[in-house]
């Protein structure tokens, strides 16, 4: 009887238990990514329908065209104001994020001027207004003047993430890798501990199976649960507005990377679980490894924004390569074959090291029941 058959039997067991608790499984798979995608996805992305007040002292076809240009797209929502005074009080009250004043003679003077007042207490919205006015101005070959005092213009031009539409896909990509790693921690390590506590491990060891079948079945079920978590996360991300521009090929590449993350982290989780006695201490140790690994790996913040002293750590973090590959696939739309091979290679090496450790620690498990 082969170890593969015993592994398969134990894997069936894991899956039956997983199916029984599918509600909790789905809940866990939804909560993490939903929370992070919502929080991170909203933070730093372009706000939509930012209200601005426009005071049009010109009232010519030319100035109306300019206002139409401002309104194109849904970045800003234009509220007309009759006097500058009224508009400024709206700005002060925070009901609008910016005021655009089109002076009389907008079209007649040689150089078109508009005045822009921005509420820089709302930097996100302010920068949207600023960018939109600049874009419309370019179209009309006019120059938005810094208004006369009291000027509060403060233009934020540098985003950490760039306010592109790819931002959300990038966030979702990072989160997918993180939930895959978490899925392993829950799917394999925890069950090793609960099986030991309930005596199941001992019961398995009294059957005529190769004990490494137990280990392999845990790795397999952890990997499946990783993929499951990541899949749910991806669906949530797509619903929320992320894109997977590469289509079916991209999906397969994504699956491959997530599979490797699941494999490596399941082996890591089992290594930790064989070395911890209590579920609480396992949870603590596992989380204090996975969470920083996700952070340093670029799940939340691109690693080029990390301080210099953390960079070497990031390069040692297998999730860096997973996030890199996933973001290439999801954001850039394609991953060069060489990059895919390299990132996969790092993840495979990590998996092999972790599996070796897991095998080493698991060898004496019956002496430590």
């Amino acid at each position: 009887m082969s170890i593969i058959q015993d592994t398969y039997t134990l894997f069936i067991r894991e899956m039956l238990i997983f199916r029984k608790n599918i509600g909790a499984g789905i809940g866990r798979a939804i909560i993490f990514p939903a929370l992070f995608i919502f929080l991170l996805g909203s933070f730093g992305s372009s706000p939509k329908n930012v209200p601005i007040a426009i005071v049009n002292y010109d009232n010519t076809a030319s100035s109306l065209n300019f206002i139409n240009a401002l309104q194109s797209g849904n970045n800003v929502q234009v509220i007309s104001s009759t006097t500058q005074q009224q508009a400024m009080s709206q700005l002060a009250a925070g009901t609008v994020a910016g005021v655009v004043v089109i002076p009389n003679g907008f079209a007649s003077t040689g150089l078109h001027n508009v005045y822009v007042y921005l509420d820089n207490s709302q930097p996100q919205s302010a920068s949207v207004v600023d960018a939109k006015v600049a874009a419309a101005a370019q179209q009309f070959n006019i120059k938005p003047l810094d208004p006369p005092p009291p000027s509060t213009v403060s233009v934020v031009t540098n985003y950490a993430y760039g306010a592109s539409s790819n931002y959300l896909s990038s966030v979702v990509g990072g989160i997918l890798v993180m939930v895959a790693a978490f899925g392993s921690v829950f799917g394999s390590g925890f069950t090793v501990l609960s099986d030991r506590e309930l005596g199941n491990l001992k019961a398995f060891l009294t059957t005529p199976i190769n004990k490494f079948a137990i280990l392999l079945s845990k790795v397999a079920s952890g990997t499946v649960q990783s993929i499951f978590s990541a899949y749910v996360g991806l669906m949530l991300g797509l619903i929320y507005g992320a894109t997977l521009t590469t289509g079916a090929v991209g999906f397969m590449e994504l699956l491959w990377i997530i599979f490797l993350v699941g494999l490596g982290f399941s082996a890591l989780a089992i290594t930790l679980a064989t070395k911890t006695r209590q579920i609480q201490s396992y949870a603590l140790v596992a989380q204090s490894i996975t969470m920083p690994a996700a952070f340093l790996g670029g799940s939340f913040v691109p690693i080029n924004l990390l301080p210099a002293f953390l960079l070497p750590v990031a390069y040692l973090d297998p999730l860096t390569y997973a996030v890199n590959a996933v973001k290439d696939i999801m954001v850039k739309g394609s991953i060069p074959l060489s990059a895919l091979v390299f990132d996969s290679g790092v993840l495979i090496a990590f998996t092999l090291i972790m599996l070796t450790l897991a095998f080493m620690f698991f060898k004496n498990t019956s002496e430590q029941l």
């Binding site: 067991r13 039956l16 309930l198 398995f204 060891l205």
Partner: protein
């Protein structure tokens, strides 16, 4: 083929600073029901774990059906059914699924598996609960399921580590009947450990009493009863200062007392009731203050008292808490 189902030769297991099993040699014949009797921490579970191949002995050999457990673990394990001390059923699986998984792990051929599952459900009286999750079962039902699980692959030998500890009378009787049945009908050799003298007495053909890792008595229940003089026990508890006086009164009425930490105890012999009557009047006459006077059937405590001259360690609290006892249980 050997005539013995289980043989151990000079089995020794040492942990860091504790010899849990000390030179135990056992020969259990095929078809026997053998009881390994001892208090918590005596070395029962360590012995069982070595028989199961879970622990490697420090020295000595274990043979099951003539197969060396530590040289050919897979072959040896295939011929053994196990009921561990902790009731091990998976609460998140149904009774049938529990059996299915273990049937497969014991490599029961596919075409026989369903038949064996039905047999096991029948045996454990759980047929109507086959699709219920084991987590919803009572302690007794779980134990029965686990016992049936151990019997499913028709092993010629089964090992049970305290199979009835913590069960009510009804479930205990059900397990006993089940064990008797498979022993008589299928000639299955049974080795069980127990803390209950009554259980060993009722169920077993032979009993081995183990303490501090050493076999201190071995024989049929009848032999042991004779050796230990398992008659009714008379006990008087009193304040510490009074115990010596109570002991003297015991002697006066013809009893052989042992003075313990909080009571005086003596085997009642043949006319125990008569002796108690005498004892009561003597105690009343002497005006010694006593707390309680009792007669009871001998328990494991009494056996140990007789064999080792000391109380069972757990009951004095000596072994509770710190390491060894827990270690021996494999936890």
């Amino acid at each position: 083929m050997t005539e013995y189902a289980i043989e151990t030769e000079n089995l020794v297991k040492r942990f860091a600073n504790l010899t849990a099993v000390n030179d135990v040699s056992l020969k259990i014949k095929k078809g026997e029901i053998f009881g390994l009797l001892g208090p918590n921490g005596a070395g029962k579970s360590t012995t069982i774990n070595m028989l199961l191949g879970l622990l490697s002995p420090t020295s000595g050999r274990v043979l099951v059906n003539g197969i060396d457990v530590h040289k050919e673990p897979a072959r040896a394990k295939e011929s053994v059914g196990v009921v561990t001390q902790e009731t091990v059923v998976e609460p998140e699986l149904t009774a049938e699924q529990n059996l299915m998984i273990f049937g497969r792990l014991y490599h029961i051929p596919k075409d026989e598996l369903q038949g064996r599952i039905n047999f096991a459900l029948d045996l454990s009286d759980l047929k109507e609960f086959r699709n219920s999750y084991a987590g919803t079962f009572s302690g007794g039902m779980k134990r029965r399921l686990e016992t049936a699980k151990a019997l499913m692959h028709s092993p010629p030998v089964i090992l049970l580590d305290e199979p009835t500890t913590g069960l009510d009378i009804q479930n205990r009787t059900k397990i006993w009947n089940l064990l008797r049945e498979i022993n008589s009908k299928q000639n299955v050799t049974i080795l069980l450990t127990t803390q209950y003298l009554e259980e060993a007495d009722q169920l077993c053909n032979r009993i081995g009493i183990i303490d501090h890792g050493k076999m201190i008595a071995l024989g049929t229940p009848a032999e042991l009863r004779q050796k230990i003089g398992m008659s009714t026990v008379i006990e008087v508890s009193a304040d510490k200062e009074e115990l010596v006086k109570v002991g003297q009164i015991f002697k006066k009425v013809g009893l052989e007392p042992t003075v313990l930490s909080n009571k005086v105890s003596a085997p009642g012999g043949e006319s125990a009731v008569l002796k108690v009557e005498k004892l009561v009047s003597a105690l009343t006459a002497s005006k010694v203050k006593i707390h309680n006077i009792a007669m009871h059937e001998p328990t494991i405590d009494d056996v140990f008292l007789k064999l080792t001259g000391s109380e069972v360690r757990d009951s004095t609290g000596e072994m509770t808490g710190a390491g060894p006892a827990a270690l021996l249980r494999g936890r």
